[in-house]
Amino acid sequence: MSQAAPTVDATRAGTFDAIQSALRRNTWTLGLLVFLAILLVFTRLIQPTYGATGIQGLANSVLPLALAATAQAIVVISGGIDLSIGSMMALTSVVAASNMQDQSDLFSVGVVIGVLLLGLLLGAVNGAVIVVTRVPDIVVTLAMAFVWSGCALLVLRTPGGGSAQWLEDLVLGPLGNEWIPKAGVVLVLIVAAIWIPVSRSRFGLSLYAIGSNQLAAFRSGVSVGRTKIFAYMLGGLFSALGGLALTASTGRGTPVPGPYTLLSVAAIVLGGVSLAGGRGGVFGPLIGVVILQLIRTDMTFLKLDPNLATVAQGLILIGVVMLGSLLQQRRSRA
C-alpha cells in the first residue's frame, strides 16, 4: 500500500532493509508511477507535439481535483467518506471570489486566510454532526452537500467575482524552467507541508487507527470522536484549498459544484486508498488524479467522442483496481 504507516526510526533496521520495506509498502504507488510514465510515452506517441505546454495545462487542470482527492483520502483513511467535498469547494470558491474582487493585495491575503478557516469550520460541522448524531458518514455528508451548495448559491447567484492577481500568479505559468508548472510545485508543497507532519504525529496514527479498527483504537485509548472531527476538518481545509485553486485558475467563483466529489473517490481508489479505511496515503491519490486527467486528454487526442471517453474512463478505473488487487493477492499467496 502506498506509504501506509510512517515509521520514524526505520533507519535503525539497516538501510537496505528500510529501502526494501519502503518499496514493499509503496508498491501500489510505484506501480502507478510506472503506469503514469507509460501513459506519458503513449501520449507523446499519439500527439508528437505534446510537451511543456501540455504538462503546463495538465498541472493546471489537475490542481483542484488533486486537492479534492487529498481531502477525500484523509477522510476515507479515517474510515469515513465525504460526499460534500465538491460543494465545499464551490462554497469556498464563491466566498473567495466575491470578497477578493477589486480589493487590495493585503485584503485578499486576509480573504484567503478567512476562506481556509471557513474550510476548517465546514469540515468541523460535518464531523461534529456525524459524531454527535451517530448518523452514518455517507448520509450526513450527502445531506451537507446540499446545504453547502445551497449556501454557495446564496453567496453568488451566477458565476462571477474575481481573483487577486497574486493568487493567479501563484498557480498559473511555469516556475523558471518551462517544464516545471507552478501549479504542480504548489500542489506538492501544500500537500507535503500539511500531510507529512500530520501523518507523523500521534494524530496521524489515530487517523489510521480509527479507520483500521475502531474498537481496537478505542481500547488503545484513542479518542475516536475527536479524531474523526479532526479528519473532517482536514478534509474541509483541503476542500477550501481546492476552492481557492478553482478561483485562482479560472479567475472567478462558480457556485455550482463541478464533478469533484465522485472524481475524488475515483482518484483515491485508483491511488490505493482502501474504502474500508485504514490503508493508503495521499501521494498515491495525487498520481491517480494525474492519470485520470491524462487519460481524458489522450481520448481527445484520439478524437474519441467525449461521451465514449467517459465510459472508457470508468472501465479503466475498474480494470486498474482489479489488476492491482489480483497482483496483490498473488504476492501475498507466494
Binding site: 501506509a4 474498537l215 481496537a216 485509548g221 484513542v222
Partner: protein, 519 residues
C-alpha cells in the same frame, strides 16, 4: 459483599448498576481488589461480567454505584481516561491496529519500548520485527504483543478479559507464569477466564457474579472450585450426561461419514476415520495439527488436495458450503462472528440456512418458519430477551443460536469446531446435553474441542490428530485427560513426558477429579 476490613484496597467498586433499555445487565455488583493480588472475576455468561469490565475501563458509564482507585473516587469516562487512572485491559481480541506496524501501535498508546521488549522476552516471543504490520503477525503473537504492551505501561490494575481463551497451550502457560509473578507486589491483576484450572493456578481470590449481582467472594484454595461453581450456578441443578454409555451396535449400520486418506497441502497427511449415526466422535489435537483444515474441508469451505470423503456411502466433493449443507453436513464454528448476522434477529439467524436455498427464493412461509424457529429456541433454551439483534445476546446464547439454526432444519451430521470456546459452564452443560440428545435421535456429531475435559462428557469415541495424521483412537471410557494429553503430544503411553507437560497433566487431572463437572 464488599470487603471492608481492609482499608488499603487498590480498586473498589460497589453498588454498580446498569440497564440497557429493559435489559438489566447489572443490578448491584461490587468488586474489591487488594494490592498485589490476582483476583478472578467469575460468572456465567450473561451474569454481567463484561458490563462490569466495560464500566471499569470507561467504555460504558454506570447508572449508579461508586468506583474508587487507591481510595480516591474515580469513574473513567473512556479507555484513555481509565488508562491514565492506572487501569489497563487486555481482551481476547487484541486491541492492535491491523494496518499499523507494531512500533506505531506502541506509539499510539505511548508505551515505553524497553519495557515492552522486556515483557515480550518474558512472554517468550523473541526477535519480533517491530516494523511488521500487525495484520501480518500471527494472531497468537498479536495477543501476546497486546499483553506485553499492557504490562509495559505498568498499570495499577491489569484487567485480563478472557485473554487466554484463544491462546495456544504453550503460550497460555507462559502467560499464566508471568501473571503469577505479579503477585505480592504493589499492583494487581483482575483475571477473567472460564477455565477453572487457570483460576486455580494464578488467582488469590475470586469474586462471583450471578444475574448482575455479586454473590460471593471466595479465597482460591485447593477445593474452592466447587464453591465457585456453586455460586455461579445458583440453585440451577446441573444435569450432566453420564460418562459411561452403552456401546452402540454399529455392525449393521452404514457409516454416515467416511474419510479416507484425506490430504490438504502440508497440513493434512492422510486422515482416515468413520463416523456413525448416533455417535459423537471427538477430535483431539494441539493447536495447528490440521484440525482446522479437516473441518474446513468437511464443511465445504476448503478443498482437499487428495483423498476421499463419503457421505452415506456416496463419494462427495464440496465446492461450496452449500454443497456440504445439502449433503447434510452442517458446521458450528468456535467463532460466533463467523456464523451470525449480528444486526439481525434471532429468528432470521436461525431461519437463514433454510430460506436462502435458491429454489426457495420466493416469499418466505413465515408461519412454518416461525414454528420451526420457535421449536429450536425452546430446545436450546435460548434467552430471547434481546432477540431483535443477535449481537446483543451473550456469547453463550449466540452459540446456541448457531446450533439452533441447524436443529430447526433437522440435523443429520453436525461438525462442531470448539463449540464451547469462551462459554460458561451452565451453557456448556446445556450444549453437551443437546449433543447427546441429537446423537440419541440418530444424528452423527464430529466435535473438535480444546477442552479435554469435555471429551469424556460428550463423546463415544475420540481420534487424536498430530502433524496432520490420526495418531490414536480411544474409547471415551479410556479418554481421561492424561491419556488424551499424552496422545495429543504424540507420546507413547509408557514414554517419559517432558517435565512441564507432566506437571500440566497432573494439575489438570487434579482439577478434573473435582466433582464440579459431573455432579
Amino acid at each position: 459483599m464488599t470487603v471492608t476490613q481492609t482499608t488499603d484496597l487498590l480498586l473498589e467498586a460497589s453498588g454498580i448498576a446498569k440497564t440497557y433499555g429493559a435489559v438489566v445487565a447489572l443490578k448491584s455488583a461490587s468488586l474489591a481488589v487488594r494490592p498485589g493480588e490476582v483476583h478472578a472475576l467469575m460468572g456465567a455468561n450473561g451474569a454481567g461480567k463484561s458490563t462490569l469490565v466495560k464500566i471499569l475501563t470507561g467504555a460504558v458509564r454506570p447508572d449508579s454505584g461508586t468506583i474508587s482507585v487507591r481510595g480516591k473516587p474515580r469513574v473513567a469516562h473512556s479507555p484513555a481516561d481509565a488508562r491514565r487512572g492506572g487501569i489497563v485491559s487486555v481482551y481476547q481480541e487484541p486491541a492492535l491496529i491491523p494496518d499499523l506496524d507494531v512500533r506505531s501501535n506502541l506509539r499510539l498508546t505511548e508505551t515505553p519500548l524497553p519495557n515492552f521488549r522486556h515483557w515480550l522476552d518474558e512472554l517468550g516471543i523473541n526477535g519480533l520485527d517491530l516494523g511488521r504490520l500487525v495484520r501480518e503477525v500471527p494472531l497468537a503473537t498479536q495477543r501476546v504483543i497486546d499483553l506485553a504492551r499492557a504490562l509495559a505501561i505498568e498499570p495499577d490494575v491489569l484487567m485480563l478479559d478472557e485473554m487466554t481463551a484463544a491462546l495456544p497451550a504453550n503460550l497460555t502457560e507462559r502467560v499464566l507464569e508471568v501473571i503469577g509473578r505479579q503477585r505480592g507486589g504493589d499492583r494487581s491483576v483482575i483475571f477473567i477466564s472460564h477455565r477453572m484450572i487457570e483460576i486455580a493456578a494464578v488467582c488469590d481470590r475470586a469474586t462471583v457474579l450471578r444475574e448482575g449481582e455479586t454473590v460471593g467472594v471466595v479465597d482460591v484454595t485447593p477445593g474452592s472450585e466447587e464453591r465457585i461453581v456453586e455460586l455461579m450456578l445458583g440453585d440451577i441443578v446441573q444435569s450432566m450426561p453420564g460418562a459411561s454409555r452403552t456401546a452402540q451396535d454399529r455392525n449393521g449400520a452404514e457409516p454416515r461419514l467416511v474419510v479416507r486418506d484425506l490430504t490438504a497441502r502440508t497440513k493434512l497427511q492422510g486422515v482416515s476415520f468413520e463416523l456413525h449415526p448416533g455417535e459423537v466422535l471427538g477430535v483431539v489435537a494441539l493447536e495447528g495439527q490440521g484440525q482446522d483444515e479437516l473441518f474446513d474441508i468437511l464443511a465445504g469451505s476448503d478443498r482437499p488436495s487428495g483423498g476421499e470423503v463419503r457421505v452415506d456411502g456416496k463419494p462427495v466433493s464440496f465446492r461450496h458450503p452449500a454443497d456440504a449443507i445439502r449433503a447434510g453436513l452442517v458446521y458450528v464454528a468456535a467463532d460466533r462472528a463467523e456464523a451470525l448476522l449480528p444486526q439481525r434477529s434471532v429468528r432470521e439467524n436461525i431461519a437463514l440456512p433454510f430460506v436462502t436455498r435458491v429454489r426457495r427464493w420466493g416469499p418466505i412461509n413465515l408461519g412454518r418458519e416461525g414454528k420451526a424457529v420457535k421449536g429450536a429456541i425452546e430446545t436450546l433454551q435460548i434467552d430471547t430477551r434481546a432477540a431483535r439483534e443477535v449481537r446483543r445476546l451473550s456469547g453463550g446464547n449466540q452459540q446456541k443460536v448457531t446450533i439452533a439454526r441447524w436443529v430447526a432444519s433437522g440435523i443429520r451430521t453436525m461438525l462442531c469446531f470448539d463449540p464451547t470456546r469462551g462459554i460458561d459452564i451452565r451453557t456448556k452443560n446445556q450444549i453437551y446435553v443437546l449433543l447427546r440428545d441429537l446423537a440419541a435421535e440418530g444424528a452423527a456429531v464430529l466435535i473438535y474441542t480444546s477442552e479435554l475435559k469435555e471429551i469424556q462428557l460428550v463423546c463415544d469415541r475420540v481420534i487424536v490428530i498430530f502433524g496432520g495424521r490420526v495418531v490414536g483412537e480411544l474409547d471415551a471410557a479410556n479418554a481421561d485427560e492424561p491419556a488424551l494429553l499424552r496422545a495429543a503430544y504424540n507420546l507413547k503411553s509408557d514414554a517419559l513426558m517432558p517435565e512441564e507437560i507432566a506437571a500440566e497433566v497432573v494439575a489438570e487431572a487434579a482439577a478434573a477429579a473435582h466433582p464440579e463437572t459431573d455432579q
